[in-house]
Amino acid sequence: MGWWRRICVRVMCAVLPAGKETPGVDPQCCDELCERIRREAPLLLRMTMHASVALFVVCPLVTVGRPCPALWLSAENLDRHAAGMARHPSYLLRQAMMMLKTVAGMSWGTDPGVRRSLGMEPYAADPRGWRRS
């Protein structure tokens, strides 16, 4: 995992951590998803995702009053920062959080461990075929 990918994954884990009985975003699953996005998704989606991660990292000052990158925050402040960004008055920050939740949600919601813990069937692999003639 490159350094930026590690940051992306850590941000997603902070956005959707484990609940009482349900696992949170799994770093391995999330890394795989980020890799697929890198290979397959259109530029606009990738750019929006990376910009949202960058915003998450740089804006603790406006959410929890700490002038440092988000990933340097204590666990408690990181959680407050994530929650603060989701309900921030700035539409831009809220939209960025929506993007992060979309990606984190895709990783979390397809994770067989999460699905099982919620009593849902795990997904089989996506087939990805199309008619060639």
Partner: protein
């Protein structure tokens, strides 16, 4: 030479050149309905579709797969205005009918009366549209959802409506054999939903027509005021590393006419790229945006079981919104539930006990769709304050209904309102902000951009159903509808497309 009854997917090498009586651009609700009408009348037809042809066994299970394989541009098109609202459509053979919920609702007579005032009463009379919709219902096997198809998620809405004496009904859907897998948004792998890639597009081929897939039309060719064909270049739907995305050029000559059905976001930009000039082009773009209210119940609801959408209420149609049950896959539910961090994660643990119902607004706002710098659609649109007020009222009604059905709390998902509300806290919804940025809107019912009407300043298509100033060019999709409907649009779009296609053939016979 390409044999009749052929499907041509992504091609490389020499340009592909074809000829047909009619070219239909787009294979969704409008395009496929029109194409089937034309082939049944004995005309040769070439359907040209931007996306690939995927069969039910190719459909993805995950939302990521659906974004990649079925949704237009991965769902990255937004209506931009004060707010950014995602626009959901599909790009594949079958168009948005592949991912929609297949709900079938007849065009309300009041809407046809509005159209009559725009000079369209003769063509789209109540009798003509009604007869077409009756035929469609038989053909598509429309059935009322019941039993296993509904399950607790939709049953609870119906119970709550009944308890208040409000109108509520199980939905009629063109999904006769629906087993209630709740996967409509990812395409129906059971093949239960009668999307147009499973009925009319194959019929076009059986009757000797041609279908090009992976073939986005770049331009309609117009010569001496007449549409004479279309052209573009094949695009690979899933290129591997080292594989080229752009394929061979194609052009299809239309002996008699071109019918556009590239959707409410596609048809106007295509006309713009093709050099059609009209003050009305791209204007009159409208939508029926909606948002959801989630109820959390003391018992399991399991919204993933049962049909994606099973119940609805038109009780508030006169107030400008309708209510429906809608189940979301877990991945998307995670984006919709408010918050982030540990509290949010704990809220998501309640997913099995959640029911989600939506309010869709018959919005009055109008926007514009244009071709962007690279030809892509750019939509400028935002719900007005009055539309937001309607949505707020709809969400308030839904919250009450959730409590009537036994919910413990609701999750409004409105910025400026607490993330969870109990039954005694609903006042907060009445005073919720009216800034449209505070709501989690989604747009899936789209209209306009090439609207029909008698006023040349306000309409692109004249009452004689030709694009003004261009002979042999017609619009047969949601783009030509001059108003919103207040109900689900597929049935109206299909009926309108069939009526226009039949008229086109008749006109030609008369000539």
């Amino acid at each position: 030479m390409i044999a009749p009854g052929t499907h041509l997917a992504f091609q490389t090498g020499a340009p592909v050149e074809l000829e047909a009586d009619y070219v239909v651009v787009g294979s969704g609700a409008g395009g496929a309905a029109a194409a089937a009408t034309l082939v049944r009348a004995g005309r040769s037809v070439c359907v040209v579709e931007r996306g690939p042809w995927r069969d039910p066994q190719h459909y993805p299970l995950s939302v990521y797969g659906a974004m990649r394989d079925l949704w237009s541009d991965w769902g990255t098109l937004f209506a931009r205005g004060r707010s950014m609202i995602p626009i959901l459509q599909a790009s594949c053979v079958g168009g948005t009918t592949v991912i929609n919920s297949a709900i079938v609702v007849r065009t309300p007579p009041a809407v046809l009366a509005e159209w009559a005032e725009l000079g369209l009463g003769e063509v789209f009379s109540e009798a003509a549209v009604g007869a077409e919709q009756e035929a469609l219902e038989r053909e598509l096997g429309v059935t009322r959802m019941h039993g296993r198809q509904l399950m607790e998620h939709s049953e609870a809405l119906l119970r709550a409506l009944r308890s208040r004496g409000l109108e509520g009904h199980a939905l009629d859907r063109s999904a006769r054999d629906c087993i209630g897998s709740g996967q409509c948004l990812q395409g129906c792998r059971e093949g239960a939903k009668t999307s147009t890639n499973l009925c009319w597009v194959p019929e076009v081929i059986t009757r000797g027509g041609t279908v090009l897939s992976c073939a986005p039309v770049g331009r309609v060719t117009i010569e001496r005021g007449r549409a004479v064909g279309v052209s573009g270049r094949f695009v690979h739907p899933a290129p591997r590393r080292g594989e080229r995305r752009r394929g061979a050029r194609f052009s299809v000559r239309a002996r008699r006419g071109v019918l556009l059905a590239a959707s409410a976001t596609g048809s106007a930009p295509l006309l713009e790229r093709s050099g059609v000039r009209s003050a009305a082009l791209g204007r009159g773009w409208r939508g029926q945006p909606g948002a959801a209210m989630i109820g959390v119940y003391p018992h399991e609801v399991r919204m993933e079981r049962g049909t994606t959408q099973g119940a609805a209420s038109l009780a508030y149609r006169s107030e400008g919104f309708k209510l429906e049950s809608l189940s979301l896959p877990l991945e998307l539910l995670a984006a919709r539930v408010g918050g982030a961090g540990h509290r949010y994660a704990r809220a998501l643990e309640e997913a099995p006990r959640m029911a989600m119902w939506v309010a869709a607004v018959r919005a009055q706002a109008q926007g514009v769709v244009r071709a962007g710098r690279f030809g892509q659609p750019v939509v400028r649109y935002a719900p007005s304050r009055a539309d937001t007020e309607r949505l707020r009222a709809g969400l308030g009604r839904l919250a009450r209904l959730h409590f009537d059905a036994g919910a413990e709390k609701v999750l409004p998902g409105i910025h400026g309102v607490a993330p969870e509300l109990g039954p005694d806290e609903l006042g907060a919804l009445e005073s919720a902000p009216l800034d449209n940025r505070c709501y989690t809107w989604v747009l899936s019912h789209l209209f306009g951009g090439c609207v029909m009407g008698k006023d040349p300043r306000r309409s692109v298509v004249a009452p004689d159903l030709h694009v003004r100033g261009v002979r042999g060019l017609h619009v047969v999709d949601a783009a030509c509808l001059p108003t919103t409907l207040g109900v689900n649009p597929q049935h109206t779009i299909m009926a309108v497309a069939r009526i226009i296609a039949a008229r086109v053939v008749n006109e030609e016979n008369v000539a």
